[in-house]
């Protein structure tokens, strides 16, 4: 009797959950980015096309879920906030190659997979932030200079293991080779003012607090802080530097999208992907998150438009993804997070 009760209870819970429908008029999204950040965009898509969007957001495990669900997976597209997650999906052969004119026209080559297994929608630069008071303008203009001993005890970053830092280190490996990159990382580690901790915004805050003079962070965090009344005074104490603008360009990462191999609503999914690359959506997306549009024909908007012009490093993101396991080990070897 007790078992029946338990079964009945769980059955109740099951019926409560809306079954992901494979019916027309919907598109199902597994997202590594928070729903609320996607919402304005997805709402606009639904308004324009009448296609309803369904989202599951998680930071881990979505690739495993997709893989195990196999051909019956309800997911049509996966959206990620960095290159390593999305290339992980490609490595597991979970994404479909998409040969699509609109997407190829809207997204430049270095921001998409050669066979169309993923597409970058927006980009963000990995920026250097310096104290307005204590660091002269132009005192640091490249990532390489972060390892300069003159910054000893003056730099703050988040954990070296964070995907954003791993991607930056991977790009250093791609440009300078593993040996040079490791020396650079060691130099950067030796310059740290404190044990890596917190998020990117905390590093900007640390400059305002006088804990350090130089920090590394993604461009949009600075934008968010400038827009938040409480955080603006903090953000106004730092200067944003676009590193390596004059040579190879600033290291960028993407927020991207990939079509799943098992997509039950393939046409709707492609419609969503095309829409997200369109000028209209790129404006909404970039403005909402203070990112740079992936579509080169769309100018940056909002606060981002007031900054220097981004000269992005054109190193293919695929290459960055390939170096990331090496970068992870490097972080361990120099004991960066200690």
């Amino acid at each position: 009797m007790k078992m029946k009760l338990a079964a009945a209870i769980t059955a109740c819970a099951v019926t409560l959950a809306p079954l992901p429908a494979a019916a027309s008029g919907e598109v199902n999204i597994y997202s590594y980015r928070q729903e609320f950040l996607l919402k304005p965009l997805l709402d606009a898509f639904t308004e324009e096309t009448g296609i309803k969007t369904n989202v599951v957001f998680a930071r881990q495990g979505l690739a495993e879920r997709l893989e195990r669900e196999g051909r019956n997976s309800p997911a049509d597209v996966v959206m990620t906030v960095d290159i390593s997650r999305i290339s992980d999906l490609v490595d597991r052969d979970l994404t479909a190659a998409l040969d699509n004119e609109t997407l190829e026209k809207n997204i430049p080559e270095n921001l998409r997979h050669p066979e169309g297994k993923w597409f970058g929608l927006t980009t963000r630069g990995r920026m250097i932030f310096t104290s307005l008071d204590r660091v002269e303008e132009g005192a640091i203009t490249t990532y390489e200079e972060l390892a300069d001993p003159k910054w000893e005890g003056r730099i703050c970053t988040r954990s070296g293991k964070h995907p954003y830092n791993i991607a930056l280190i991977s790009s250093m490996i791609a440009h300078h080779g593993a040996e040079e990159a490791e020396k650079w990382l060691q130099g950067l580690k030796d310059n740290l003012a404190r044990k890596p901790q917190g998020g990117d915004r905390d590093q900007i805050k640390a400059i305002a607090e006088g804990v350090c003079d130089v920090a590394i962070g993604n461009s949009y965090y600075y934008g968010i802080m400038l827009q938040d009344e409480e955080q603006r005074p903090v953000a106004e104490q730092v200067r944003i530097v676009f590193p390596n603008s004059d040579d190879r360009g600033t290291h960028i990462n993407i927020s991207g999208i990939a079509l799943t191999r098992s997509a039950p609503n393939r046409d709707n999914a492609i419609a969503l992907m095309e829409y997200l690359s369109s000028a209209e959506a790129q404006q909404i997306y970039a403005r909402a998150n203070n990112e740079f549009p992936g579509n080169p024909n769309v100018p940056p908007t909002g606060i981002v438009a007031e900054w220097d012009e981004l000269n992005p490093d054109t190193l293919p993101l695929q290459t960055i993804a390939e170096h990331s396991p090496e970068a992870v080990r490097m972080v361990d070897r120099v004991d960066y997070d200690r």
């Binding site: 209870i9 669900e69 019956n72 998020g199 006088g210 361990d332």
Partner: protein
């Protein structure tokens, strides 16, 4: 097979309980349940055989020794904090009379309603440079920047230890209090009359008797601590769990991560086994006179105030401070954060948590009772196996849940397609069932463990009497044990319920589309460093946890009164 083992494996005391004829049913039920509940853990164990590459040389050479050391320090620190707070307060409210005792009885459970990641955000907000504490100090002393003074860094090992200790001590408190309540006061009186002081009696009589319950509480605390990722990640404390996620997410090596999970699991199993082994010869049953009312000590005024301070401090730090900070933000950001989704999310949380609490309770009872009927090694092994889910980080367990459920769904689907040309799609994956299943697997240890220790305290002569009076094993359970276990049952249900309300990592991964619980809703914003907007739903988790805490705490107290009638 089990029968044979049962015969050969009864070295200490031949169980007087094992009924000869009806025995099979309970054993079979327990076996089936364990087989299902242990599936996710076995899935992870299976994944551990297929790593993308061998991670150990790199780990051993670089970070592993430090990860292990940090983990041990964290666990030791949390043990000290939770044991001292939990035991001292449980003893005080059970045995001493002082102002506010009745209030403290339930208020001491309040920090339990605060998720660990939330308290971590709150204290960071308070104690960081820009926070009110350091701001006030700077104004006071005229310091200009962080370079002018030293302030303890909350984002550190001690910070994580304190945060986790503050929200986890209620496990020890709850189980210790239930154990103290069930103890026969006459034992205490005898000890005192034989010349032992109250303190000496506590350590020599009360604590040893309460030890199985306290051990269950502490092992729950340590497993929670071992598996916590949110807090240690936020505080940049590198434990084994951090290494596990690093291997999984950054190296993309799920097999390697599963191996680390297995190592952690082994560690927990060894710890629990050692504790059990050290009291293998002990058997405790409450005497018949446990129904005598508790005679609380009448203590002097100053001592009464010490009791008040001891009980008030953890509530203040673990509940009042976070609640006030969250309340403050909730007011400021009310406009932005109040949406119509709230009722929906709250309803999701409530329904899932209630379902999971009832499921774990029923299953836990079946397991614990089978264990009582068959005190054999195979049964004990089943019991341990069924509890392993708790010793795994939630996100890893979620993968362990996905593997068998998706395999099951796809098998059915393939069979239906072949036989009838119908696709059934995914029946269980990505539904509420998957979530309740995950919660059950994860929190079964909580209910089974406390029910087991509760049952252990009931003397076998109760069963013998009931059975000789013609009651079946089921009737004995329902008519004899359940009424006596009322307090324990409520405790178990309460703990599982609140745990489920707070559960985050597995919920995130397993949930259906467009489905939020309060916890996932909080996380969406908090993980984007938007404590302000997440304050209101976080506060609601806490408040939602309070109501059942008060209700059930009252019932636990009255369970004794009830059984005294």
């Amino acid at each position: 097979m089990n029968q044979q083992a049962a015969v050969s494996d009864v070295p200490v005391t031949p169980s007087p309980l094992t009924p000869r004829r009806t025995s099979k049913r309970w054993l079979i039920a327990a076996t089936i349940i364990t087989a299902i509940v242990a599936l996710p853990v076995f899935s992870i164990a299976w994944l551990a055989f297929f790593p993308d590459e061998n991670i150990w040389p790199h780990l051993l050479e670089t970070t592993l020794p430090r990860y292990v050391w940090t983990t041990l320090l964290l666990m030791a620190g949390i043990s000290v904090i939770t044991l001292s707070i939990g035991l001292a307060t449980a003893w005080a409210v059970t045995m001493c009379e002082f102002p506010g005792r009745k209030l403290f009885e339930w208020a001491l459970l309040l920090p339990f309603a605060v998720p660990a990641y939330v308290i971590a955000y709150v204290y960071t907000d308070l104690l960081q440079y820009a926070g009110p504490v350091q701001g006030a100090l700077r104004d006071w002393f005229g310091w200009q920047s962080a370079r002018d003074y030293w302030f303890p860094e909350i984002r550190s090992l001690w910070g994580a230890t304190l945060m986790l200790g503050l929200v986890l001590y209620p496990y020890v408190y709850l189980l210790a209090r239930a154990a103290f309540l069930e103890q026969s006061p006459s034992l205490f009186a005898v000890s005192r009359s034989l010349g032992h002081s109250a303190l000496s009696t506590f350590f020599r009589v009360v604590l040893p008797i309460a030890r199985p319950a306290v051990a269950v509480g502490l092992s729950l605390v340590l497993m929670e601590a071992l598996n916590d990722f949110g807090t240690v990640d936020y505080f940049a404390v590198h434990t084994l769990t951090a290494g596990l996620f690093d291997t999984w997410m950054n190296l993309g090596n799920l097999g390697g991560a599963a191996q680390i999970a297995m190592v952690m699991l082994t560690f927990v199993v060894v710890l629990v086994t050692l504790e059990r082994y050290s009291r293998r010869r002990q058997k405790q049953y409450a005497g018949r006179d446990s129904r005598a009312p508790i005679q609380r000590f009448v203590i002097s005024r100053p001592r009464q105030w010490i009791c008040v301070a001891v009980c008030a401090a953890p509530i203040l730090l673990g509940f009042v401070v976070p609640a006030v900070v969250l309340g403050h933000y909730a007011l400021i950001y009310f406009e932005q954060s109040w949406t119509s989704d709230f009722l929906n999310n709250a309803a999701n949380s409530l329904i899932l948590s209630t379902s999971a609490a009832l499921t774990t309770l029923v299953i836990g009872l079946i397991l614990a009772y089978s264990r009582r009927l068959h005190d054999t090694r195979p049964m004990r092994t089943l019991m341990r196996l069924s509890s392993l889910g708790y010793a795994m980080p939630g996100a890893v367990l979620a993968v362990g849940v996905i593997v068998p459920l998706a395999a099951f769904d796809n098998q059915i689907d393939a069979w239906m397609r072949d036989s009838f040309g119908i696709s059934t799609g995914l029946l269980l994956s990505g539904t509420g069932f998957a979530l309740v299943f995950a919660y059950t697997v994860r929190f079964l240890a909580v209910s089974a463990g406390s029910l087991e220790s509760g049952l252990q305290k009931i003397t076998p002569s109760m069963d013998m009497a009931a059975r000789s009076l013609g009651r079946s094993t089921t009737a004995t359970l329902l008519q004899v044990h359940l009424p006596m276990l009322r307090g324990t049952i409520l405790t178990a249900a309460l703990v599982v319920f609140v745990d489920c309300m707070k559960e985050l990592p597995a919920t995130l991964i397993l949930r259906p589309f467009n489905f939020d619980t309060l916890a996932t809703y909080v996380y969406q914003y908090a993980s984007d460093e938007m404590l302000g907007i997440s304050a209101l739903p976080a506060l609601i988790i806490v408040v939602a946890g309070i109501v059942p805490i008060i209700l059930m705490s009252r019932s636990i107290g009255s369970a004794r009164a009830y059984s005294q009638q």
